[in-house]
């Protein structure tokens, strides 16, 4: 079989298993996430699928916690001229799933959200989500920069770092985020080495194997 036959074989299989169909789908990533749980892909083991379904059934964060996660996620990854925000990409639902999938994160997340509310209660007499945007950002500024943060804010720093990782992971692995970050692969093609203009821009020669 040559490469053209490979691609033909792949196309036929794709029609059957929906690979190319699903990678071409656009639209609501939240819905896409839910689909990933309900549909058992070929090659997914039974125990894995059952576990996915059970996790999707379970509910961990309450409405207030989810609202706080949504505000924080959009502070970390806001909408800009290139792409939408974390919540546009379904990040809060992803975080809800991940803390159930990796339950060691349940307590740090729940406790961290509570820590945030207590800080705001002390400062402004309100929970985090009910404070003004400037008030929210003032607190975030105190926990978003590990090297500058005061010792008494370290628990907040640890929580924010976890939240930041979840948010970025969820955003840049979503359909919106993958497009944003410019990942150009996952498609059949031919690799002929680094493009010429890139080689030149980086001071490598075009002909030799090792530039």
């Amino acid at each position: 079989m040559n490469r053209r036959d490979s691609l033909k074989a792949l196309g036929l299989m794709a029609a059957g298993s929906g690979i190319l169909a699903s990678s071409c789908q656009t639209g609501d990533t939240n819905k896409e996430g839910a689909k990933a749980v309900s549909d058992k892909l070929p090659g997914v083991q039974d125990f894995e699928h059952e576990r996915n379904l059970a996790l999707a059934e379970e509910k961990f964060f309450d409405a207030h916690e989810m609202a706080t996660i949504t505000v924080l996620a959009d502070i970390i990854i806001p909408k800009d001229e290139t792409s939408g925000s974390a919540s546009d990409a379904g990040v809060p639902a992803f975080i809800e799933f991940m803390v159930k999938d990796l339950p060691d994160n349940k307590l740090p997340m729940r406790g961290g959200l509570k820590w945030l509310d207590i800080q705001m209660q002390k400062r402004h007499g309100k929970s985090f989500v009910d404070c003004q945007a400037e008030q929210q950002l003032a607190l975030v500024d105190e926990i978003a920069y590990p090297d500058k943060a005061k010792p008494e804010m370290q628990q907040g720093v640890a929580f924010f770092s976890l939240m930041r990782n979840f948010t970025a992971s969820g955003f840049f692995t979503s359909e919106i985020g993958v497009k944003d970050i410019g990942y150009a692969g996952n498609k059949p093609g031919v690799w002929n080495g680094v493009p010429e203009d890139v080689l030149k821009a980086h001071g490598f020669e075009v002909g030799p194997f090792f530039g």
Partner: protein, 579 residues
């Protein structure tokens, strides 16, 4: 009431029973079935055909955990069914020692997800000259014809380099380096470390000798198994083709309990438990071939006790399970400031290595025997869970896009920009080296514990020694020097003596071997130089168990060559018997 408990015995007598369907079992099954023998293959896991079952070409959002490694150690899309821990199949370790035992329960075993790095062991690996490691009963020249045939039959890319102990093969064209790999090659050479094109079992070209398999289309996802069979998996390249001869039958979900022997101690078949109906079965064969993986084959042999074989079949030397050794492994990560804000394009390439560094040092200078090779990583890979985590902890190491110094961490528009800016600028390097085969690193049967099938489990006793630790220290020094020469910024904590220089726990590199070593003396080896048990003439082992001492070369290519050699020896022996 009587309980209905009986062993279901199949009346058919197979010419050969092969236990395990990975590289070793797959190759033995392939050769014997093509020679016309009636072969039964038993696999502990389910049937797996990459054409249907590979999770190749799926985007990260098609996994609810975006590819996180919650149920599969190498992530949701990785092909391995299994891992270092299996539900209901425990193992134990002697206090103060450690070993991590990876098992893939599926047709093709670990060959479905492996790195496809296909290196030959060299003349000095078979007959070491260091005075410390032991020699094999065979030479490179004896194995070379089999390596050559494996190259042609399965396909491998690489380049002819003429390095004495890194023998060349029959190569297809190698994939060109990615941008970060060009920087690595340049930096490594400045640091005195050679870099050559990779060697991997991926079809970069069509070959008239290779039928029924597609050519690589460069998605870089060999670890997910390949739907067009463009890389080597035992499932796609050996077992499924062998089934098509009509001479090989696979029973999946069959967990082998023991090798059955007669009064004279000759193997007559195996017994197994079906993992789906939990019933007991026995099957008969004229030859029994174990390719269940080094430790699993040792476990089966140790559990096969009889009057003729009181210490377990093939174990009159008492050495089954001894000389267990994995590869050493240590790594370091960083990023290249030159690659910030890099231009986007598809650089998936192949799923095996594009470049690597074969061992280059003079052992008299380094103070430890043998050596290691270096594998490299990084670049604009498919986004997956956690792939951006490193960025907020290093984004203060370079000036911001505005030329101003900035603080680590952050949030909002500038952080979003940092994620884009740093994406694909990462580089990583990992050493894979020779760990010494030592008698006191071993697996044995735990006298107190059984698995969910009632099969006694393995207990491991493995400790690193100074030789391996010195190697890891050398790796870390080399990595730092390469990072420095290429102008990279190191992002990992540089491991020191307290963590054995980042030396991974034994078993973590998944290169374990040595448990049924071959040799000429039945007192100091389990198998003869053909992989045949000294004390049970129709029992063979074809996984990495027969390895006397592995080199720093990943095992699979040698498993394939030796299994082919053993299978043809079996055919010759049968011919002699039949007159």
């Amino acid at each position: 009431m009587m309980t209905n408990y009986q062993i279901k015995e199949s009346p058919e007598v197979y010419d050969a029973i092969v236990v395990g369907s990975g590289a070793g079992g797959g190759m033995a099954g392939y050769i014997l079935a093509h020679a016309g023998l009636k072969v039964l293959m038993l696999e502990a896991g389910p049937f797996f055909d990459p054409a249907k079952d590979a999770l190749q070409l799926r985007m990260p959002w098609e996994s609810p955990r975006r590819g996180a490694s919650t149920t599969r150690p190498f992530g949701d899309f990785d092909a391995a069914f299994g891992g270092w821990q299996l539900e209901g199949e425990p193992y134990t370790t002697v206090k103060g020692t450690e070993f991590e035992w990876f098992r893939a329960r599926m047709l093709g075993g670990r060959t479905n997800h492996w790195g496809r790095i296909s290196l030959r062991m060299g003349p000095d690996d078979f007959k070491p000259t260091d005075g410390e490691t032991e020699a094999w009963p065979i030479t490179y020249d004896e194995v070379k014809p089999f390596y050559d045939r494996v190259d042609r039959m399965i396909g491998i890319y690489g380049t002819v380099e003429g390095i004495r102990n890194e023998p060349d093969g029959i190569f297809m064209k190698p994939p060109k380096p990615r941008l970060n790999e060009l920087y690595i090659a340049k930096g490594a050479r400045k640091a005195g470390v050679p870099v050559i094109p990779g060697r991997g079992s991926v079809l970069t070209e069509a070959s008239p000798e290779i039928k029924g398999r597609g050519v690589c289309f460069y998605c870089g996802q060999c670890g997910r198994a390949c739907k067009v069979y463009g890389d080597f998996s035992s499932s796609s390249c050996l077992v499924i083709p062998a089934m098509k001869t009509g001479n090989l039958k696979v029973i999946d979900n069959a967990m082998v309990r023991e090798v059955l022997t007669n009064e004279e101690g000759i193997a007559i078949g195996v017994s197994y438990v079906s993992t789906t109906d939990m019933q007991e079965y026995a099957v008969k064969g004229k030859t029994v071939i174990l390719g269940a993986s080094a430790c699993e084959s040792a476990r089966i042999m140790l559990n096969s006790k009889s009057k003729a074989h009181p210490g377990g079949v093939g174990n009159s030397s008492g050495l089954v399970g001894k000389y267990l050794h994995d590869s050493t492994g240590a790594s370091l990560s960083g990023f290249l400031p030159q690659l910030l804000d890099r231009k986007r394009y598809n650089e998936d390439g192949v799923g095996s290595v594009h470049i690597y560094s074969p061992w280059w040092e003079d052992n008299k200078k380094v103070g430890f025997p043998r050596g290691y090779h270096i594998e490299y990583g990084g670049g604009m890979r498919m986004p997956s869970y956690g792939f951006t985590n490193w960025i907020p902890s290093v984004n203060d190491k370079v000036k911001g896009p505005d030329g101003q110094a900035r603080d680590k961490g952050g949030y909002g528009a500038s952080l979003k920009q940092d994620y884009r800016r740093f994406y694909g600028a990462n580089v990583g390097m990992a050493g894979r080296g020779t760990a010494l085969a030592r008698k006191d690193n071993y697996c044995e049967i735990d006298p107190n514990k059984v698995d969910k099938f009632g099969i006694p489990v393995l207990r491991f006793h493995y400790k690193w020694a100074n030789e391996e630790i010195a190697q890891a220290k050398h790796m870390q020094e080399t990595f730092q020097s390469i990072m420095h020469e290429m102008g990279a910024i190191i992002t990992s904590t540089i491991p020191g003596a307290d963590t054995l220089y980042g030396l991974e726990a034994p078993g973590k590199i998944i290169h374990e071997g040595g448990t049924t070593r071959m040799g000429n003396d039945p007192k100091s080896s389990v198998l003869n130089k053909w992989g045949q048990a000294h004390d049970c003439k129709n029992l063979y082992v074809v996984d990495a168990g027969p390895f006397v001492q592995q080199g720093d070369k990943n095992l699979t290519w040698t498993i394939l060559a030796l299994s082919m050699r053993t299978a043809e020896y079996i055919l010759e022996e049968k011919k002699k018997l039949n007159g």
